[in-house]
Each structure stands twice: as structure tokens, then as C-alpha cells.
Amino acid sequence: MLTAAIFVPILAALAIALLPRHRGLGASPRGLTVVATAVAAVPLVLLAVAWLRFDGAPGFQQVEAVPWIPTLGIAYRVGLDGLSLPLAAMTGLVFTVAVAYPVDLRGRPVAYFALMLFLEGVSVGLFLALDLFLFFVFWDVSLVAMYFLIGAWGHGDAQRSALKFFLYTFAGSLPLLLAILGVYLAAEPHTFDMAEIIRQQPLAGGGIYAALVFAGFFIGFAIKTPIAPFHTWLPPAHVDAPGPASAILAGVLLKMGTYGFVRILMSVLPDLWAQLAPALAVLAVISIVYGALVALAQTNLKRLIAYTSVNHMGYVILGLAVAGAAAPGQEAARALALTGATVEMVAHGLITGGLFLVSGSVLARGGTYDLETYGGLLGRARSLTWLTALLAFASLGLPGLAGFVAEVQIFVGALAVYPALAIVALLGIVVTAGLFLRMLGRVFLGALPDRWREFPDLGRREAGLLGVLAGLVLLIGVVPGWLLGTIDAFAGPFVGRP
């Protein structure tokens, strides 16, 4: 079933791409949108079923394995646990919404939908992969698909931004590949099987070899996440990408980095992670404060949101640093931080994904991302305003919405382990509050400039799709028990909580 969640969209993408162009679906973008949305929803439905079958036991479940290149210990292995399940499901949802979201197709609907569906299958596959080689294949292929989405459907200096995105993140995947090979060679017998490697702990002895593997993974994941100062590919890629692609880039692709930290680096090299945790926490706090302050100075709506991603990913890394820290007696706090970091990954996907879709709609109506040209849109576009406000408040961590559930757990965990750093990190939430309230004030409140007298509100489809994301953000904020329970099935055993 998990295999179907991965390959239904990929095969559908191929089918759409190979479809005769002049007849049937290819001729009608509208029909194609419906079909693509239906296909995009398949993984979501399958993962929802998988969630119902999830029994909360530690370890990987619902594993599906087929030998692939047995001589090299490579197999097609997929499965899930309390960490990957929420992320994969979130991926399915964000893709379904993004595929259905209206966008300027530039007259090439077939290629657009084929790429989106292909990327969906690849992304779901990455979160479900239990084989390092498979993980790397999905990792690299996702870059290619995103590169084309930005380059071909972007605006502004899209080619340059897409290339920068590709080269920069590709530069990260090279050390990642070397690190994966390093782990492969260290395991005895050589294997790419994640579960087996985690069981063996082949690099537990430490030493220069383990340090190099650590560095390789770290650079690869840090660029993708991104952790400051490896983040400069992010703003141009977001600004020039079409709205739905931005939503996926922020919502799903960034999570590949943070997911990789937990799934691979922290699991394979826990001792080294614990040794370096204080330094990682410092890096995280720098990302938090730096991302928030730089975002505060932005006048471009999309750049502003892009930099808040740096800030939010800083929270995730802080949570992970705490979760992997050597802090005897604080297992409960570390589990809390790990749960919080995972919720932050999901919440950020929904919230920031939604905010990027919003900015796509704003661009489609106003033609610019410049905050100062707008104002008073509440009077013209009520659903746009209310949905944006809800997502913005969620992003600044207002209780009752998903971001709070994530951040409060991260802060509480961090305070128990690194009190001083946690207090510095807390300052970030004041700055994010300031920047989001400023954004809301500039765009939606104040006097309505004459040129926006006819500014249209969200269409029914846009409002409905954003409503789905906003509704889930609210649900997680008010009744998070189901999500936290699932994640805790992973987080509790991971930190060794008694």
C-alpha cells in the first residue's frame, strides 16, 4: 500500500506526460487539473488508511521490501513509524492542495501536472524509504523536478534562481552521497538497510571516519533545511517560484533536511550528535534570531515568508539538538523537544505552505509582492484577509493553532537542557510576532489605495483549499492529542524515556 502511495503519482505523471497532446485530457487544462488532483489525493488517502492501521508500537511498521541490487545490499524497502507517517501524510495533503490550486500554467499544463505528481511520489517515497540508497535516489530526483518547476513556471529571474537552488542543494547532496557510502562501507555486512544500520551502530566507536561521515550528512541536510548561513539559495528560489511550487518547496522539501537529521544522522551517529549538541543548539538559535530579524526588514511579501522559514527551521534544529543532547534525567524534556520539532515540521508545512499559496494569489491579483503598495484589503477581500491572518497568527505561534503546540514543546524541552539558549531563542517569537503583524497591517489594514478599488477576493476554489490547510492548523492547535500520540510512539523510545 505504501508502494502504491509512492508510485501511483509517479506512474500517473508518466501517463500524463506520454498522453497524446491534442486529444482528451491534454487539450483541457481544467480536466487535467481535476485528474491530477484526484491522483494527488491518492497518497493522502492511502496514508490516512495507513495511519488508521498504525498501532503505536516502536520500530518500523507496514514494511514492504523487494530486493533490488542484492550484491550491493540495496533493496527497495519502505515502511513507516511515528516520525515518517505524519510527514508523509502532510506531504500528501500539501501536494493535493498545491496541485489543485489555481496557477498560471503558461500554456503547458501537461508538463506542469506531470512534474508535480512526479515530485509528489518522490517526496512521499523519501519519507517512507528505509534504504539509504533509495533515500538518496529520491533526494536527488526531487531536486531535478523542483528545478524545472521553478525554472519553467517561475517569474522574475526564474532561470537564475532555479539554477542557484539546484546547484546549491546539489552541492549538498554530494557530501550526503559520500556519507551514505561511508556508512555502507562501515556496516558489516555492507548494507544500505536503515533499520539494520541503526541496529548495528557501525560507527559507534567514533574517530575521524565517523566525524567525516557526520560532516557529510550534516552539510547535506543543513543546506536543505536550511540552517543559517547555508540559507541564501532559499529567498530567490521562493520569490521567483510559482505559488504552489513555493508551497511545496517550503512545506515538503525543507522537511527532507530536518527529517534526514533525525532519521539518519541522529539515529546512526547518536553519540557524536550528543557531543556536538551544544554547538548545534547555538547554530539553531542563530538561525532563529537571524531569520526573524532579516525577515523583519523585508519589504517583499515572499522574501519575508521565506526568511521566516529559516527562523522556523531553527526551532526544529533546536528541538533536535535538545532531543539528542546528553542530559541525564531529562528524558521527558528531550522527548517533548523531539515531539515539538516533529510537530513543527508538520505545522510549518501546512502554515507556510498556505502562506505561499496566499502570496501566489496576491501576486495574481496585484502583480507585485511589495508590501508597501498594498493596504486596506480587508475591505475588499475578506476571505483572503481572514485566512492570511489565521495562517500568520499560526506562524507566530499563537495558542489554539498548530505552531504553538510545536514551539511550546521545543521551548520547554530546550529550557530544561540549555536554559540560556532557550531564553535567547524565545526572543525570536517576539520578532516574528512583530513582522507578521506588520505584514498584516501593511497589506490588509489601513486605507485602501485607489488602485485596489476592484481587488478581487479569493475564488471559491482558492478559499476552499486554503480553508483545508487552515482547518487542519486549527485542529492540531485545539486537539493535538492524535498527532502527538503518533509522534510520541517514535519520540519516547528514541530518547530512551523510561
Binding site: 524545472f148 525554472g151 519553467a152 532561470q159 539554477l163 546547484l167 546549491y168 546539489f170 552541492a171 554530494l174 559520500l178 548561513p229 540559507h231 541564501t232 539559495w233 530579524l293 532579516v294 523583519l296 526588514a297 531529562q330 521527558a332 524534556a333 522527548a335 517533548l336 515531539t339 493596504g375 486596506g376 475591505g379 499563537l398 495558542p399 504553538f404 503546540v405 511550546v408 514543546q409 521551548f411 520547554v412 524541552g413 530546550a414 529550557l415 530544561a416 536554559p419 532557550a422 531564553i423 524565545l426 517569537i429 517576539v430 520578532v431 510576532a433 503583524l437 506588520r438 497591517g441 489594514l445 489601513g446 486605507a447 492529542g481 502527538l484 500520540g485 510520541d488 519516547g492 524515556r497
Partner: protein, 636 residues
């Protein structure tokens, strides 16, 4: 009945009101009846005292209950909100449905806050109160100055919220749970962090020094919003938290003295601002700060009971005073208090204002006088110096209460063409005035036990000379007001640039905040943003340039290599041919040698290609991608 019932009821009311925008006539009755209903639900919950635990994770969840002083708040909050929404409905603000709906949502958040039994629930209510107050203060959103003021208020209080996050984390680190019960048993240094966090959060929310100026920003909201925010809600949250938690934290040696110091500083500075400020609503706002300063003082002196009593009486008379100020502003169209003097023109509001001002000044037999004496007694019991300072604060209170009454509703000329108050507005004034008078029951002997039971604290028995001193302070304050008024100085404005302007502007605190916080932060943020574009990314661009240079060199090398392969192949073939052409027996040898040489050369060259240097692979790969991109761009 579940402890969440009052919050749910208020939330339901908010949802209902938001759908009534098309039927403005229903808004007022529904809002008033609904809020009264919420008060009844609050009463029922307060009397039955239920509790609930909601588990979100193994060590993460909510504990809610109607306990301690929270039970008083459960009734007080919606009870004050009822006349205030009646006033709001009568005043006919723009966007009335939205205003009333947000007021109900705000009350819901406040009711959640006062039922919190742990730090997570508290934080949820606490921040939701802040966010809904942002929407209320920025109600007139078409004017950007209102929005900016709302943002300022939200950010100031959120700065204080950080204290609660820290307190929550510290309690958890110490006890493995977020419950308030753990505060008292937390070990050092966690207990100190909790104490500092609670004090920070409470001071910011209750507009204590140095956070006081956000209250002026909060005046941008419509008058009923000010009346609601400054009486039983928002601002009261800080004092409520201290009443609830200070006894458990009393073992931290600096905690109570710090509360005392903050409260005293605010009571005196806020009193000075209130005594001088030219804007009617801001006089009351500064007085709110000062009154909460007195409550902090009481808590610091060890009497949460006195603070609780003062909170209740203040909530009633301050809501009343704000509404009378709103009527005056509507009638005269100016916020400047010296242009009001509406005593003759609007006798009914003037009577209500007089009751409110007498209560503020602490004139017996009003209940507010009783609670103020309780505060002074607590201060005196804590030490003579503190007692004297508390008396000085009382004197200031009497002075600015008198000034407000004389200037706002003193006997002036009979003005014509004023906007008359609506019946709903007058009804709201009447209800609050009646409640202010009814609180005189506090003077009855059984009240003492009731107050102590409701707050969980104890009251100091006041002596006769304390009462006499308080009355003397009151008389002195009013005498000063009357003398100044006779000389015509009471309403005189300050000369621009004078020291008095600085005092009016909250002793220059906003100026300091701009200098020390706002400007550095925004400057830093701009500088970092520029640096991010130029410096951080410059490293990447430099790497790209190096990469390009390397790729050019590498490409040349690759070209060279290929050239050499071709040349050597050709050379080898030629040599072989020549060899086979020259010598028969050398034919086989020659071709073998030639082939061997060819293989050797090719092997050497391909070794060069596979240098094992990853950047070569990488550059070649990147070139391939660039070529794909270029093809794509051209093909488009």
C-alpha cells in the same frame, strides 16, 4: 457542568454575534443577554468548582479547574462585560457585529485564563487574550495609526509572555509537569526562573513600569474596548496571576520585594502621569496602571486578599469611569479633558462619574475605600516606610480622581447641540454605578472572611490612625485640586518641551523604549538583511565564481585530454601502418606495440579524467545541468 462551559458559552456568543451583522437591531439584545448568560454559567461553575484534565501527550496536557481567586474572576469578567457590551451596542460603532463578536471572544479567552491550573493552559489563555485585544484595539483598522497602536500593545505584552514560556519550561524541568501545584516544590534554580518569568509576564500584562506605555497605545480602541481591557480583563490578568501564584513563590527571597518595588514605582509614576495628562481617557489609563501598582504592592506586602479585593472594586468603578469618559468624548468631540466640564449639560453621566471618582479616590462608605484601606494596612504591616509611600500613592489617587471629576463633569456652562447619550449607554452607567455603591457591603464585618476565603490570603486588621491618615491624605488631595481649580491652573496645558510634557508622556518611557529597543532592533534587522544579501550570499557567489573558473580550466583539460587521445590514437595507427608497410616480421610486433601504446595512452588519459577529485565530477555534472537548462531556456 464542565469548567470549560463559560469559555464555550462566550465563544458561542462570539460566533452568533459575528453572523448578526445584517441585523443590527438584534445585536445589542443578543450581546447583553448572551453575556449575562455567560455570567450565570460562570457563577454556576464557580460555585460547583469542577475540574478537568486533557492529556495531549505522556507529560503534556491541560489542567483546568475553578479554583481560588479564579472563581471570583469567572463571575466578575462576564458581569463587567455585560454593561460594557450594552454600552457598545448603544454607541453604534462602525462594524458593531465584529466589535461585539471580538469582545465575546476576548471574554472567552479571559475565562479560559482564569480556569487554568497549569502553565500550558495559562499560556494559551494568556496569549489568546493578547491576540483578541490586538483585534479590539485595532478595531478602527482603516486608520493605520490604530493598527500600529494595537501592534505596539501586542508586542509589549508578548515580550512579557516570554516570562510565562520560561516559567512553564522551568516548572517542567523541575517537576516533570506543568501544574501550578509544582511551583512551590520546584528546586533552585528552576524556582527562581519561575519567579522571574511570572513577574515579567504579570508586570507586562498589568502595565507596570517599565511596560506601562502600552496602555496609552491601547487607548486607540473604541471606548467600550478600553473599559473592558482596563477593568476585569487583560490588565487584570497580571495581578490575578500574582494573587494565584505569589504565595507559592514567596520562598524566593527577592520575589516579593521585587513585586513591591515594581508596584510602588508604577503607583507613584502612574499617579503623576494621571494627575497631569490632558487627555481624559489617558488619565484613566494611567490611573489603571497606578491602581494595579497598588495591587502589586499589596501582593508584595504579603496580602493577596487585599489585592484581590482591590482588583474587584477597581474593575467595577474603572469600567464605569471609562464609559463616562466615552460619553464625554462623544458629546464634545474632543479627548481633551479641560474642554469637557459637562456637569450641567449631562447631569446623569455626571452623577455616575462622581460615584466612580469617589470610589477611585477611596471615599467611604464605598467598597473601593475598604479595599484601598486593606492595601494600605498591608503596606503598613510590611514596614512604616512602605506604609508612608502607600499613603503618598493614595494622596496622588485622590488628587487625580478629583481632577478628573472636576474637569470632566464639573459644573460648567450649559452646552447646546451635544450628542446625548443613548438609553443603552445610560443603562450601562446606571448598572455599574449601582454595583460600585453595592460594593459598600465590604464594610460589613462578615465581608472580611468572605474575601479571605475567595482569595486564599489574609487581611491585616487596620488601626484607627491608619484610617485617619488615609482620610487625611484624601482630604489633602482634594484640597489641592480645588485650590488649583479656583486659580484656573487645573486644566492648563503644559508648555511644549517642558519637563511636564516628559512626565505626561510617561516619564519618557516610550522615548527610552524607542531609543533602547525599537530602533536598535529595526536597525539591526535592516543591517542583517543587507548583510544577508551582500556578505553571506557573497560567499556562495564567490564559490560559484571559483567553481566556474575551475570548470573552465577543467573543460580545457578535458579538451586537451580528448585531443591527446585522438592524436595518440592517430599517431599509433600511423606508426602501426608505417611499421606494417616497412617490415614484414615487424608487422605483428608493430601492431601489437601500437595497440599496446594506444591502450596505454588511452588508459593514462582516462585516468586523468578519473582523477578521484570530486570537484571535477561535480563541475562536469554541473556543466551538464547547465547545458540542460540552457537547452530548456532556448527551447521554450
Amino acid at each position: 457542568m464542565t469548567v470549560l462551559a463559560p469559555s464555550f458559552a462566550a465563544l458561542l456568543l462570539a460566533a452568533t454575534l459575528s453572523r448578526l451583522g445584517g441585523r443590527p437591531r438584534l445585536l445589542g439584545p443578543v450581546a447583553v443577554a448572551g453575556m449575562a448568560g455567560v455570567a450565570l454559567v460562570g457563577l454556576a461553575v464557580a460555585l460547583t468548582g469542577p475540574g478537568i484534565e486533557i492529556a495531549w501527550g505522556p507529560a503534556f496536557g491541560l489542567t483546568l479547574g475553578a479554583q481560588g481567586f479564579g472563581r471570583v474572576m469567572l463571575v466578575l469578567v462576564p458581569a463587567i462585560a455585560t454593561p460594557v457590551v450594552a454600552y457598545a451596542a448603544g454607541s453604534g460603532e462602525d462594524g458593531l457585529a465584529r466589535l461585539l463578536s471580538f469582545m465575546a471572544a476576548f471574554v472567552a479567552a479571559m475565562l479560559l485564563l482564569v480556569t487554568a491550573g497549569d502553565f500550558i493552559s495559562l499560556l494559551i489563555g494568556w496569549e489568546l487574550v493578547g491576540a483578541t485585544s490586538w483585534a479590539l484595539i485595532g478595531h478602527g483598522w482603516r486608520d493605520r495609526s490604530n493598527v500600529d497602536a494595537a501592534t505596539q500593545a501586542f508586542l509589549t505584552t508578548r515580550l512579557g509572555d516570554l516570562g510565562l514560556y520560561a516559567a512553564a519550561g522551568a516548572v517542567f524541568a523541575a517537576t516533570g509537569s506543568f501544574a501550578f501545584d509544582g511551583v512551590g516544590v520546584a528546586a533552585s534554580p528552576w524556582r527562581e526562573i519561575v519567579a522571574a518569568g511570572v513577574l515579567l509576564a504579570a508586570a507586562a500584562k498589568s502595565a507596570q513600569v517599565p511596560f506601562s506605555p502600552w496602555l496609552f497605545a491601547a487607548m486607540s480602541g473604541p471606548t467600550p474596548v478600553s473599559a473592558l481591557l482596563h477593568s476585569a480583563t487583560l490588565v487584570s490578568a497580571g495581578a490575578y496571576l500574582l494573587i494565584r501564584l505569589a504565595p507559592s513563590l514567596a520562598a524566593v527571597p527577592w520575589f516579593l520585594p521585587a513585586i513591591t518595588a515594581v508596584g510602588l514605582a508604577t503607583a507613584l509614576s502612574g499617579g503623576a502621569v494621571a494627575a497631569l495628562h490632558p487627555h481624559g481617557k489617558r488619565v484613566l489609563a494611567a490611573s489603571t496602571s497606578a491602581q494595579y501598582g497598588l495591587m502589586f504592592l499589596a501582593v508584595g506586602a504579603g496580602s493577596t486578599a487585599a489585592a484581590g479585593a482591590q482588583l474587584v472594586t477597581h474593575a467595577v468603578f474603572k469600567a464605569l469611569l471609562f464609559l463616562t469618559a466615552g460619553i464625554a468624548i462623544h458629546a464634545t468631540g474632543t479627548p481633551e479633558i479641560r474642554r469637557w466640564r459637562l456637569g450641567r449639560s449631562l447631569p446623569a453621566p455626571a452623577a455616575a462619574a462622581a460615584i466612580g471618582a469617589l470610589a477611585l479616590a477611596g471615599v467611604p462608605p464605598l467598597g473601593a475605600a475598604w479595599s484601598k484601606e486593606a492595601v494600605v494596612s498591608a503596606a503598613v504591616a510590611a514596614g512604616p516606610a512602605l506604609g508612608a509611600l502607600a499613603l503618598a500613592a493614595s494622596l496622588l489617587t485622590a488628587a487625580y480622581a478629583g481632577r478628573f471629576l472636576v474637569l470632566a463633569y464639573g459644573p460648567g456652562d450649559l452646552a447646546r447641540g451635544l450628542r446625548r447619550p443613548e438609553p443603552a449607554e445610560l443603562a450601562a452607567l446606571g448598572a455599574l454605578a449601582a454595583a460600585t455603591i453595592a460594593l459598600a457591603v465590604l464594610w460589613l464585618p462578615p465581608a472580611r472572611a468572605v474575601v479571605e476565603a475567595a482569595t486564599g490570603g489574609t487581611l491585616e486588621g487596620g488601626s484607627v490612625w491608619e484610617t485617619a491618615a488615609a482620610l487625611a491624605a484624601l482630604a489633602a488631595g482634594w484640597a489641592v485640586v480645588l485650590v488649583l481649580d479656583r486659580r484656573g491652573w487645573l486644566g492648563s496645558g503644559a508648555a511644549p518641551g517642558s519637563r511636564r510634557v516628559l512626565v505626561e508622556d510617561w516619564l519618557g518611557l516610550p522615548h527610552l523604549a524607542t531609543r533602547l529597543v525599537v530602533r536598535p532592533v529595526s536597525g539591526l534587522s535592516l543591517a542583517l538583511a543587507r548583510a544577508d544579501d551582500r556578505v553571506v550570499d557573497a560567499g556562495v557567489r564567490a564559490a560559484a565564481r571559483v567553481g566556474r573558473a575551475v570548470s573552465v580550466i577543467a573543460a580545457r583539460q578535458v579538451d586537451l585530454s580528448i585531443d591527446r587521445v585522438v592524436m595518440s590514437t592517430a599517431g599509433a595507427a600511423l606508426a602501426a601502418a608505417r611499421g606494417s608497410w616497412r617490415a614484414d616480421d615487424a608487422v605483428v610486433d608493430g601492431s601489437v606495440e601500437g595497440a599496446g601504446r594506444l591502450v596505454g595512452v588511452a588508459g593514462h588519459q582516462s585516468r586523468r579524467l578519473q582523477t578521484g577529485l570530486t570537484h571535477h565530477y561535480y563541475v562536469i555534472g554541473a556543466l551538464g545541468v547547465a547545458a540542460i537548462a540552457a537547452v530548456l531556456a532556448v527551447a521554450r
